[in-house]
């Protein structure tokens, strides 16, 4: 008997799920602004990683999405810190200081090292040059608690247009991708090996190549050896 998850996967093969006639496009007057839903495999594993933690702290690197704050709050009873890194990138683009991003990310986060239980990195690394991506990844690794986990999404195809994506959690197996205009486009797609090198202090626990042309990866920080 086919269970619900396998049916979800089957629909994922057929392409993006229709959200509804009114919700499929947010604003047709703006190019590249779309909204479609796709299945996700890594999110439920990310949630499972954090279910045991007491009042976990989650760092969300995307722009604030109100329903996500509600979802994670209700699912995990957690504290969520929203740090809009896309906004940081746009600010540096506007000021013509993109080369300063690696230095910026080194001191960007004010949390204590080893204090964060989970990080929603989304696809923000796709928008960074290698040095900036490495600086951000290193800063994130430092913030994670031992056994803490990080969810990252990485594009496997070049995407035209200067748009970022808000990932709106519909439920633990579905994400709604909602694009919005930005000042920077995706850089060259990161290969699997590149991603693993970026997060060399973390262990890859799961990796899913999705029909949405995104690679979903879940990392975990190993506990220190006794």
């Amino acid at each position: 008997m086919a269970d619900a998850r396998s049916l979800t996967d089957l629909f994922g093969i057929l392409g993006p799920r229709r959200v509804g006639e009114t919700a499929s496009v947010v604003d047709t007057s703006v190019t590249h602004v779309t909204e479609v839903s796709y299945p996700t495999q890594a999110l439920q594993k990310f949630l499972r990683c954090l279910h045991g933690a007491d009042n976990p702290l989650i760092l969300d690197l995307g722009p604030v999405v109100g329903s996500n704050v509600t979802f994670f709050g209700e699912q995990l009873g957690c504290r969520i810190r929203v740090e809009d890194v896309a906004g940081d990138i746009d600010k540096h683009v506007k000021e013509g200081k993109l080369e300063q991003l690696p230095e910026f990310f080194t001191g960007r986060f004010t949390q204590e090292p080893g204090s964060v239980d989970g990080i929603l990195c989304w696809d923000i690394l796709d928008y960074l040059d290698r040095p900036a991506a490495q600086a951000l990844a290193t800063a994130l690794c430092r913030l994670l608690k031992p056994e803490g986990c990080l969810l990252g999404l990485f594009s496997t195809a070049d995407t035209p247009g200067q748009v970022y994506t808000k990932y709106v959690v519909v439920d633990e197996s579905t994400l709604r991708y909602r694009t919005y205009p930005g000042l920077r486009q995706r850089q060259r797609s990161l290969l699997n090996g590149d991603i693993i090198k970026l997060f060399k202090d973390l262990r890859v626990t799961d990796s899913f190549l999705m029909k949405s042309k995104l690679r979903e990866m879940l990392f975990r920080k190993p506990a220190p050896r006794a």
Binding site: L57, G66, S67, V69, T70, R81
Partner: protein
Amino acid sequence: MWKRDESVKPATPPAQTPVTTPSAPVAVAPAASEPRTQLGRDNVNIGKSVIIKGELSGSEDLTIEGHVEGRIDLKDNVLTIGPNGKIKAEIFAKAVVVLGEVTGNVTASEKVDIRDNGSVDGDIASPRVAIAEGAHFRGAVDMQRAGAKAQAKPAAPAAPGQSQPQTQKVGA
């Protein structure tokens, strides 16, 4: 016969000048003649020309369109920051609705609702949080689980139908 009675004609309203209160605590009570406008029996409005520095506390719902710096304490009531409201304060209330600007931490025992064009720079602690599309938020959100809330407040258990947080605004 139909001539308007000039004796009841209101005088020309004086030009509004900002009113700055001293930094002593300000209590908002039903009988108080200030703040400016009494909207309804249980809702007081602080107008946009009013500036308050210090501690603001009260026992009725309050709408702020002016500037407040310091601390706002409305533990059993709803605080609404209107579109013109600018707050630099620690806020404690039953529910907080933000349509203006808030800089400071917000603690609500029921709900925080940041509406479109509302802005919060600070940490939020509340069992329910709604952030609309177009709202600005920078900070941390601490949502207690229903069980944790019940442990924290054993004297006021939630009704069975209210134990679960309501569905929040989707599309934010």
